[in-house]
Amino acid sequence: MSVQFVGLKEINGPLVVLDHVQDASFEEMVHLELEDGTIRDGRIVSLEGDKAVIQVFEGTTGLSLTNTRTRLLGHPMEMALSPEVLGRVFSGSGKPIDGLGEVFAEVHRDINGQPINPVSRTYPRNYIHTGISSIDALMTLIRGQKLPIFSGSGMDHNKLAIQIVSQAQITKDGKEDPDSKFCVVFAAMGVKNDVADHFRASFEKNGVMKNVVMFLNLSNDPIIERILTPRCALTVAEYLAFEQDMHVLVILTDMTSYAEALREFSSSKGEIPGRKGYPGYLYSDLASLYERAGIINGHSGSVTQIPILTMPNDDITHPVPDLTGYITEGQIVLDRSLDLMGIYPPVSVLPSLSRLMKDGIGEGYTREDHSAVANQLFACYAKVQDARSLASVIGEEELSPIDKEYLRFGQKFESHFLGQGEDESRTIDQTLDLGWSLLSMLPMEELDRVDKEMLEKHYDPEKAKMFKG
């Protein structure tokens, strides 16, 4: 363990090569000690005979072939864990940066984690209340789910992330469940300095900081650290969920920066690139993060993930959103034209989807009419789009009366249902009732996804009057 290797053989970007290494193991951690006594962390990424390739987390600036001593630590990268991590702020590589000292570790865990045996998983069934109508009603977030937000540069995904962190709660019978412990792990990858400050300040202002674990990797921090950030965050999340029985919501932002860091790292290793220069293993790599969401049999905790990514050029077919969509259980897509219309949160309803929603809503979870309202809103809003595209060709005046009614419905749906204040938290009852009120703007015959009984109970044109004028 205490063997030190003096000097290096080669330095290339974030990678250094060490020669004549004995007894190194794959993905083992190393310490590189500089002449001035500072220590940098590194990890072995490839071994060939007695040659080891090491990635240096803090970057290789100032390293020379002679001024370092390298020490093998004998274990893979680990995270020190204890319940005290709540309320703390860490760097991207899991070091405390809030000035409160090291975490007194109860256990150490390998940050790479291990795949959950599909047999040991519990199928996710209950939901997390976010207080945001569009999400709660139409793409409900289920405990143990991974539901990404696809955004674009300049849109309000950060605001939305803060709102979700501040409002999210575990509910039971419409009220906050006092028996469930809930916390948030927030991992920021490649965010700008002022955005990071804004996150921290907002959490403190909203009084939720004590239930948040923050990981901050800023955009000028080394990219190697960025590759570790989500892994550290998820290790903490798994610990809190499966050893402390908490419901953990993990927010990862921004996954596009993460993927770019991976690409940079891959090309510096000289790997053969796949689509758009991203490494061929991007899918497996993203999966090794996203698949760490879930619930395990016999544990009351859960890990739920909301990865946020900015689609380069708003292109949903770009490799990062594309591969993410194939792994995650649905997606929430933000829409630029809604954003420009001043609607917050600008959730684009039609391409958004929560795959696990069908089993986690309805009686016993949200309300018995939930799936009916959601389906009907989807169907009606799809018709709004048809009417709009027709109107753009033949003009609004030429539309049939029913199409005009759909246009009106669409407008009110966007402004009243999708749109809400950034401090406004709606209960599930408020959200669903609002959905019914909006549906009541349309003639009863148009509501073909709802059965008669439910329609008679909830359909009330009186309620729709508030949207008139």
Partner: protein, 595 residues
């Protein structure tokens, strides 16, 4: 003594230097933890091995041990209702061994070696047996009788036989002497290399459909027993849902469901759903006829590559007993990506989009293992492959979709815009096709109705006509169309919403028998013909629509229970009655467009 030691490690790829002890595709045990690996290339100086487990913590200098045989599947009773990972390790046993998280190096037997099976011998001393012949049988689940087969490469004279009774899978049952006088002992177990197709007596022509109870498939784009189909679709278009529906309802004897690089929660859902669902034909739990292979996206990538072959080997084994087996592979794109990933690690020259140049030959090698076969034991069996494809960026021109298209004969294209409109199954009726219709014509004629294929063709033509009309409607609105064309659009609405769209969560609609499919089609066409006649006599389309018949037909999938086909006669009468009331203005020859 062991000079086979690890030289380099890069992700799942490990190399050994200066060794001549390995053969291609041989299974090896790597390192002190004895991780399972496979030899993928050999050169004078370097042997390259892909490791099926996480290589974290491995060191150069650790031993690599050859096993002398390629990666094999263990074939014996106990496969059904089990769940395996990509290299046939039982996940339930692994949970018992290492807890909820999968740790590496678990040396574990694929099947339960303790469990005893009630075996009935089918041969006696003095009999001559050939490879593939049934020598014993035992009930494996409530649905399936397991037939123990002589290893395909063995034949000879039986010299000794155990009496009927209960045996575990390792107990000697039969001894035989082959032509060279060598003695072999047969047990319930045999091993078969997963990358080699199991031999059959003969390939037979395709004659029977795989009935799935899904209208858009059975009626429009049927798949045959022994056929191949691809289900391509971007994320969120319902690939997995379609696969689940087929696995639940298709009339195969055995289902092999391969979750290849997909979501963990999804596999849990399959597990949970299948054990609670009851097979409609036998009344037994669906798991009794199902094998699950789960290699989720975060499990090692090399095992993902192997999972497809493990799955098809298990399927072929049951086919050889004379069963009809259907394989659902979800998704073959993940498998292709595993190939790409490993190829990249080996620094091979990439072809299209970084995929290796051998992608098409691997794909065809897989799909060609499907077929309707005359097996070595003299029975008929089939393997049907239904592979999901997840095209990158929902672009069907990418290499995996394009190459798959060349090797499958049935193509169910899932459509994003249908999925956005929550039209499920989102199988696009314009882009999809089935080449099996001609071969199955006779079956439909004899088993469903002589007019079936003709009616189907009319449905397809109507939908095609609608497609063309919609182009016009998109530009100028539907008001300007003449009445007979409006009628086509209205009828197609009934076909789309009332027939093609199918609700997987509705107790009747989730599975629809062939007869009901026929009658539904029949009644829709009946309405169209009658209404067309009225239109040609000058009746305005608006008054035909006012009868509400079109909406009645849209709802008939829910309103008519599967076991009451006689209700369709009432619908016909209803149509006749209501259309008779439609007012026809006098002196009108043909319909005039409304202005």
């Amino acid at each position: 003594m062991n000079h086979n030691i690890i030289y380099s490690i890069n992700g799942p790829v490990v190399t050994v230097r200066d060794s001549k002890d390995f053969s291609m595709q041989e299974m090896v045990l790597v390192g002190k933890k004895r991780l399972v690996g496979e030899v993928i290339s050999i050169s004078d100086s370097i042997t390259t091995i892909q490791v099926y487990e996480s290589t974290t913590g491995l060191r150069p200098g650790e031993p690599v041990e050859p096993t002398g045989s390629p990666i094999c599947a263990t074939l014996a009773p106990g496969i059904l209702s089990n769940i395996f990972d990509g290299i046939q390790r039982p996940l339930q046993e692994m949970e018992a061994l290492s807890g909820a998280f999968i740790s590496e190096g678990g040396d574990i037997s694929a099947l339960d070696r303790e469990k005893k099976w009630e075996v009935t011998l089918a041969v006696k001393p003095g009999d001559t047996v050939k490879g593939g012949q049934v020598f014993a049988s035992c009930p494996e689940t409530s649905l399936i009788t397991h037939k123990a087969l002589v290893h395909p490469e063995l034949s000879g004279t039986v010299t000794w036989c155990a009496p009927d009774g209960s045996y575990n899978i390792d107990a000697p049952l039969v001894k035989l002497t082959d032509g060279e006088g060598k003695e072999h002992t047969l047990t319930l177990t045999q091993k078969w290399p997963i990358r080699t197709p199991r031999p059959v007596a003969d390939r037979m022509p395709i004659t029977r459909p795989l009935v799935t109870g899904q209208r858009v498939i059975d009626t429009l784009f049927p798949i045959a027993k022994g056929g191949t189909a691809a289900v391509p679709g971007g994320f969120g278009t319902g690939k997995t849902m379609t696969q689940h529906q087929l696995a639940k309802w298709c009339d195969a004897d055995i289902i092999v469901y391969i979750g290849c690089g997909e979501r963990g929660n999804e596999m849990t859902q399959v597990l949970e759903e299948f054990s609670s669902l009851v097979d409609p034909k036998s009344g037994k739990a669906l798991t009794d006829r199902t094998v699950l292979i789960a290699n989720t996206s975060n499990m090692p990538v090399a095992a993902r590559e192997a999972s497809i072959y493990t799955g098809i080997t298990l399927a072929e084994y049951y086919r050889d007993m004379g069963y009809h087996v259907a394989i659902m592979a979800d998704s073959t794109s993940r498998w292709a990506e595993a190939l790409r990933e490993i190829s990249g690690r080996l620094e091979e020259m990439p072809a299209e989009e970084g995929f290796p140049a051998y992608l098409p030959s691997r794909l065809s090698g897989f799909y060609e293992r499907a077929g309707y076969m005359d097996t070595l034991c003299g029975a008929e069996g089939s393997v049907t492959i239904i592979g999901a494809v997840s095209p990158q960026g929902s672009d069907f021109s990418e290499p995996v979709t394009q190459n798959t298209k060349r090797f499958v004969r049935c193509f169910w294209a899932l459509d994003k815009s249908l999925a956005y409109a929550r039209h499920y199954p989102a199988i696009n009726w314009i882009n999809s096709y089935s080449e099996y219709m001609d071969e199955l014509r006779l079956w439909y004629k004899e088993n469903v109705d002589p007019t079936f294929t003709r009616k189907r063709q009319r449905l397809v033509s109507l939908l095609h006509e609608e497609e063309k009309l919609m182009e016009i409607v998109k530009l100028i609105g539907s008001d300007v169309l003449p009445d007979d064309q409006k009628l086509v659009i209205e009828t197609c609405r009934v076909i789309r919403v009332g027939f093609l769209q199918q609700n997987a969560y509705h107790k009747d609609d989730t599975y629809v028998p062939m007869e009901k499919q026929l009658r539904m089609m029949d009644v829709i066409l009946y309405l169209y013909d009658k209404a067309k006649e009225l239109v040609s006599r000058g009746a305005p389309i608006s008054s035909i629509l006012e009868t509400g018949l079109f909406d009645l037909l849209i709802k008939m999938k829910y309103d008519i229970p599967n076991d009451k086909p006689e209700m369709f006669d009432e619908y016909r009468r209803e149509i006749e009655l209501n259309l008779a009331k439609v007012y026809i203005p006098e002196g009108q020859g043909a319909a005039q467009p409304e202005i």
